[in-house]
């Protein structure tokens, strides 16, 4: 037996012992996602148990070094762990911007001290992070940001406004892009970590078209953070910011924005709502559309696999824009197709008349419209591909 096979056996045995039964069932809705943090509220105690056990093993962050609380696994071992988790349909123990975005750039840019302070609480789901990038005047043109940070003694004092900050009202801390030099654009940006549990930070939820309020305006009024919370060089934040976006694009999109895993397969829904003849989707046109989508999903999954095989563990590149672009457009199309297939059942807003599946589809279709906006718009990602990957330039 190879080392990897031995490892697989161990993982399997551990999961049998440690993954609680309710954590092997499909998630019902967004409320079942475990985000951790000080304000977390565990409806299901087994969710907390599962997080604690995975966190203690470091398997919420399988490839992070052991000394920072991670699993210390090789890329191959991590992939085995992923397969075994998938085999028993285990729910992710932890969903976290700390795992997907902040941690990976800390590993690249932070000091040993900073890593020891910030990584372990991320791995264990103790601190929930949010992303303070966008501002009212700085969206696609992120480097146009105006939030100011000024060093006073051994603290930075921060003033400005962030917007569209996902889950800011539920987060404990924010990783923030701030302006530390107003005389230049990209070279005047720094990357700061800020505790949100202070008077200088307030959040105001914004309601989405889907009826939920997952994001906020975040106001920084004389907010303070110790100087040691500067990551990387002063005025060296832009490089980190871009790197983090690549992780965001890779990690969030790879999950297909939560599609697939959490809902019934497209073809089954089509058979149910359009009828089946001899096991085939009865409506030939819709059948073709469903197949087209299934093939795209497959091609996407194969591309993810290929790109991940080509890169080292945790490494990202501008090609992450390909993943983000495809995943966003794919999920939007999937949701529109589902609405078409389900018809009236997916055009309700609330009430018993509509199936839970139908209502989730309506809201999901609306929410999916943001997929091509959040984490960099489709246009921005296509620009990245055209410029940074293909080397095409604006007018010369």
């Amino acid at each position: 037996m190879s080392d990897l096979d031995v490892f697989r056996e161990e993982v399997r045995a551990w999961l049998v012992e440690n993954c609680p039964p309710s954590m092997r069932t499909p998630m019902g809705n967004d409320e079942d996602v475990v985000w951790g943090g000080r304000k977390a509220n565990y409806k299901n105690p087994e969710a907390k148990l599962w997080l604690d056990r995975m966190g203690a093993k470091g398997w919420t962050a399988p490839t992070w070094p052991k000394e920072y609380g991670g699993g210390g696994l090789s890329k191959e071992e991590a992939s085995v762990l992923g397969q075994e988790l998938g085999r028993i349909n285990a729910r992710p123990a932890l969903a976290s911007f700390g795992l997907w975005m902040l941690g990976p750039v800390l590993l690249e840019y932070a000091t040993d001290e900073q890593l020891k302070e910030h990584l372990p609480p991320i791995v264990r789901g103790e601190i929930r992070w949010c992303q303070g990038y966008s501002e009212p005047g700085a969206g696609s043109d992120l480097a146009g940001l105006q939030t100011r940070a000024v060093l006073e003694g051994d603290e930075y004092v921060i003033n400005g406004q962030k917007v569209w900050t996902s889950y800011a009202d539920k987060a404990d801390a924010i990783f923030c892009l701030v302006r530390t030099d107003t005389s230049t654009k990209h070279e005047g940006i720094s990357f700061l970590l800020i505790d949100m549990d202070q008077a200088g930070v307030t959040t105001k939820p914004i309601k989405l078209i889907s009826g939920n309020s997952p994001f906020c305006e975040t106001f920084l009024d004389d907010a303070r953070t110790p100087a040691r919370n500067l990551i990387g060089r002063l005025n060296g934040g832009w490089e980190i910011a871009k790197k983090l976006l690549q992780h965001e694009r890779t990690n969030i999109s790879a999950g297909g924005f939560g599609a697939g895993g959490r809902s019934a397969a497209l073809e089954e829904v089509a058979k149910e709502y359009l009828g089946a003849e001899g096991g085939k989707i009865a409506d030939a046109v819709k059948r073709d559309e469903v197949v087209r989508h299934k093939m795209l999903e497959r091609a996407f999954a194969q591309t993810l696999k290929r790109m991940s095989a080509e890169s080292k563990a945790g490494e990202v590149s501008p090609a992450s824009s390909i993943i983000k672009y495809v995943a966003a457009e794919m999920n939007k199309d999937r949701m529109e197709l589902l609405v078409e297939i389900m018809g009236l059942q997916a055009l309700g807003w609330s009430g018993d008349y509509f199936s839970a599946e139908g209502l989730a589809t309506t809201r999901g279709m609306l929410r999916s419209k943001a997929n091509s906006i959040e984490g960099g718009t489709t246009e921005v990602n296509l620009n990245v591909i055209a410029k940074r990957v293909l080397g095409l330039r604006d007018h010369q």
Binding site: G144, W164, K286, M342, G348, Y353, L366, K369, I373
Partner: protein, 379 residues
């Protein structure tokens, strides 16, 4: 009349534009939605619309109407769509008055059309029974009983069904679910014994209801049009409804396009207007082009209706299929080009997208109408 508005039509369009912008702008619709208004539209507004003559715009003068022509109605609907105005124009005029004109007996017309024109009677037609539009799929049974009928079954997605005074029900008098033959239209009271109505809370916050009929007894005078021949009669009514709804969607899509175009000329990123980026310019130009095509199909279909062309069914399906797709595209792009702000409930673009998705599905989706068009033209 025709592809260029005449003077009277231009005046009508202008007054409709001013009327809706003043009396029923998007903020009014938002208020209805946020207060969970039980009627789902303003009865005062409907009275005012009736005073403008719009409730009776396609009703002949002998029945108290304006007899302005169908194209006039589409102009009003377009302006209504532009402002997301909630009103019973589709249910009561397009469907109700439409059905009476097409299939009503003299007695029915005499009794009801003047009341519709005066804005005093709300009507609707109950067609759908499941989640996809297909009138032939009617199972709701009408059994002969003495010299009348007894109706039992269930309808859904009945526009303004919870407030309609009179409901025209598509029922099966013979044959089986799926057959086009064997369907008959019946006129019943919204509050008749055995009728229960439940308002559905829809994505677009407009009115639709589920209606149950439990042994509802009607006399033979309730029959509209030929017995067992209701499908063809209804098809003609639906042609009107499809064209009218396409006009409403055209107005909504035009409004989204205009607000998006304005945003392209106002929002700056990278030190320039986002409208200066060619990738957005081309898509804006494409949307404009699709809207131009949409306008043509709606005007052509409306004109054909007034002229009694024998190609109306095809033209109605063309309009509904084409405008549904354009509206889908424009509302999608509208949100995308607004970025984060387009995703907020506070911005209007999302309201238009919600209305569009429901309207796209009402009276048959684009796919349904492409299929119907192919059938009608022997493809």
């Amino acid at each position: 009349m025709g592809l260029v508005l005449d003077e009277e039509q231009t005046i009508l369009k202008d007054s409709a534009k001013a009327f809706f912008a003043e009396q029923a702008p998007v903020t009014a619709f938002r208020k209805l939605r946020d207060s969970n208004d039980e009627t789902g539209f303003s009865r005062d507004l409907w009275s005012a619309m009736a005073e403008m003559g719009w409730a009776g715009i396609i009703i002949p003068e002998e029945f108290g109407g304006l007899d302005f022509g169908f194209q006039g109605l589409t102009l009003v609907l377009e302006e209504q769509g532009r402002n997301l105005t909630a009103s019973p124009l589709v249910s009561t005029v397009l469907l109700g008055a439409g059905a009476l004109l097409e299939a009503g007996t003299e007695a029915q017309k005499n009794a009801l059309l003047p009341m519709i024109a005066a804005g005093e009677l709300l009507m609707t037609v109950a067609i759908d029974e499941d989640h996809h539009f297909d009138p032939a799929n009617t199972a709701l049974a009408a059994k002969a009983d003495g010299d009348g009928y007894v109706l039992t079954g269930e309808k859904t997605f009945v526009l303004d069904g919870h407030v309609a005074d009179k409901i025209i029900v598509l029922a099966r008098t013979s044959g089986e679910k799926g057959d086009r033959k064997g369907l008959t239209l019946f006129l019943i009271d919204g509050t008749a014994g055995g009728v229960t109505r439940e308002r559905l809370d829809m994505l677009d916050s407009r009115n639709a209801a589920r209606i149950k009929l439990d042994q509802v007894k009607v006399s033979s005078e309730a029959v509209m049009g030929p017995i067992d021949g209701g499908y063809d009669a209804l098809s003609k009514v639906l042609d009107r409804a499809m064209i009218g709804l396409s006009a409403e969607m055209l107005g909504g899509a035009a409004a989204v396009f205009e607000m998006t175009l304005e945003y392209l000329k106002e929002r700056r990123q990278f030190g320039q207007l986002i409208g200066s980026f060619q990738s957005l310019q081309h898509r804006a130009a494409d949307m404009f082009t699709q809207l131009e095509l949409s306008k043509s199909v709606v005007m052509t279909a409306a004109t054909a209706m007034d002229e009694g062309s024998n190609e109306i069914a095809s033209l109605a399906s063309l309009a509904k299929a084409f405008v549904s797709e354009t509206s889908n595209q424009v509302t999608r792009e509208g949100i995308q080009m607004h970025g984060g702000i387009g995703m907020t409930d506070e911005h209007d673009v999302g309201l238009y997208l919600k209305r569009s998705r429901v309207a796209e599905h009402t009276f048959g989706s684009a796919g349904y109408h492409r299929d119907r068009y192919a059938r009608l033209n022997d493809y």
